[in-house]
């Protein structure tokens, strides 16, 4: 009885509304007066014990889903837009300026990026006999440009460029970033780019692959694409030195 009590609570919490409603209604039918008192626990246990024999495992939580099967599943853009909007509002209340806001969005993206790198590596190389990873910078950047963008946004990024003035700067260009589609920056915050979240994702993937860099997002509107955004990657010195040594 003491063992099954935590089990009862766990299964009532993790089950979706369907089965917990069944349990509640069955316990209501059997013991109408003890619905809210703790003494109802034994009766819930007995009804639960009778019903849960056929399904002994708790219901499938999101963590139990097969990682490969959910590879192509999509998330509603509207749902994400509302979540992202709330993330920005939450952050805005706690920061002192635009750079701080971008840095916090970058941190949030960083947490997404580390997990995404693991997930992507597992999905592409997890089943192979000789898994490989990129050790030179340009192939890694190409991987981000196509595979990461396709996995996160559904299409590859639009361009890769290399800066002519500094040889440690590279740029990934997206003509119409999906996550900021509905965001209108007010006039007095003109330099803010909410694609700082995307910059954080890229920074985490580069960090995980061994190319530490500082990644920022800048809005570079053109006539054809008013929402065009550049993800600027500024590599750290040791990466450049290592690349030169490996040449």
């Amino acid at each position: 009885m003491s063992y099954s009590q935590p089990h009862t609570r766990f299964s009532l919490v993790s089950n979706s509304s369907l089965s917990s409603a069944d349990h509640l209604s069955s316990s209501n039918a059997s013991t109408s007066t003890t619905r809210f008192s703790l003494q109802s626990a034994p009766s819930i246990n007995t009804t639960l014990g009778a019903q849960s024999q056929p399904k002994a495992l708790p219901r499938n939580a999101i963590y139990d889903r097969n990682l490969n099967k959910t590879r192509t599943s999509e998330v509603s853009a509207s749902a994400f837009a509302f979540l992202f909007s709330e993330m920005i509002q939450y952050t805005q209340k706690r920061v002192s300026g635009i750079e701080d806001l971008e840095r916090r969005l970058n941190t949030l993206g960083y947490r997404i990026g580390t997990r995404y790198l693991e997930l992507m590596s597992w999905r592409t190389e997890g089943a192979s006999k000789a898994p490989k990873r990129e050790i030179r910078f340009l192939p890694a950047l190409m991987m981000i440009h196509t595979q990461l963008w396709r996995a996160v946004f559904g299409k590859p990024a639009d361009a890769i460029e290399r800066s002519v003035e500094n040889d440690d700067e590279y740029m990934l260009i997206d003509n119409d970033p999906q996550i900021t589609r509905h965001i209108s920056i007010p006039r007095d915050m003109n330099s803010l780019s909410c694609s700082a979240l995307t910059a954080g994702i890229v920074e985490a993937v580069l960090d995980g692959l061994g190319f530490p860099a500082r990644v920022t997002a800048h809005s570079v509107p053109t006539d054809a694409f008013p929402a065009r955004t550049t993800i600027l990657v500024k590599l750290q010195k040791e990466v450049l030195e290592r690349e030169d040594a490996l040449k």
């Binding site: 992202f84 909007s85 920005i88 965001i183 209108s184 909410c194």
Partner: protein
């Protein structure tokens, strides 16, 4: 077949967006627009109580000699008011599209406080594409 203007009124009766399109209506000051929108909100509330057959929404179309007002009430109490010429019959579908644009460009914008005046470039640009630029 002209659209003269678009107003968006929040659930408290305050005007949050106002835009004129084709020429045809008198030009009023912004204060007058605020007062008129508040009055319209009151009229809408009154007409919703006057229904002889029970619960009803408020007035939907108000016709005058040279123009008509179409009011679209959303489930949350926001009102979209379109002022058009008398022979325009597409006001309802236009208001549905405006509602969609509102849901996208205004509600999902983190820099927009709900029920406050709409100062969103995305909303303006999309209304432009839908209804033409303002005069």
């Amino acid at each position: 077949m002209a659209v003269y203007g678009l107003w968006v009124i929040n659930k408290a009766g305050g005007l949050v967006y106002q835009r004129n399109f084709a020429d045809g209506l008198a030009q009023l000051t912004s204060n007058e627009y605020l007062v008129i929108a508040g009055t319209l909100h009151g009229i809408h509330a009154i007409t919703s109580r006057l229904s002889p057959t029970g619960a009803s929404s408020g007035a939907r179309v108000i016709e005058a000699e040279t123009f008509k007002l179409t009011i679209f009430l959303t489930a949350t109490g926001t009102k979209f008011v379109l002022l058009t010429s008398l022979n325009d019959h597409s006001a309802d579908s236009i208001l549905q599209k405006v509602y969609e644009i509102y849901a996208d460009a205004v509600m999902k914008n983190p820099f927009q406080t709900p029920e406050m005046p709409i100062r969103s470039e995305g909303f303006d640009v999309r209304i432009n594409t839908l209804l033409g630029t303002s005069t």
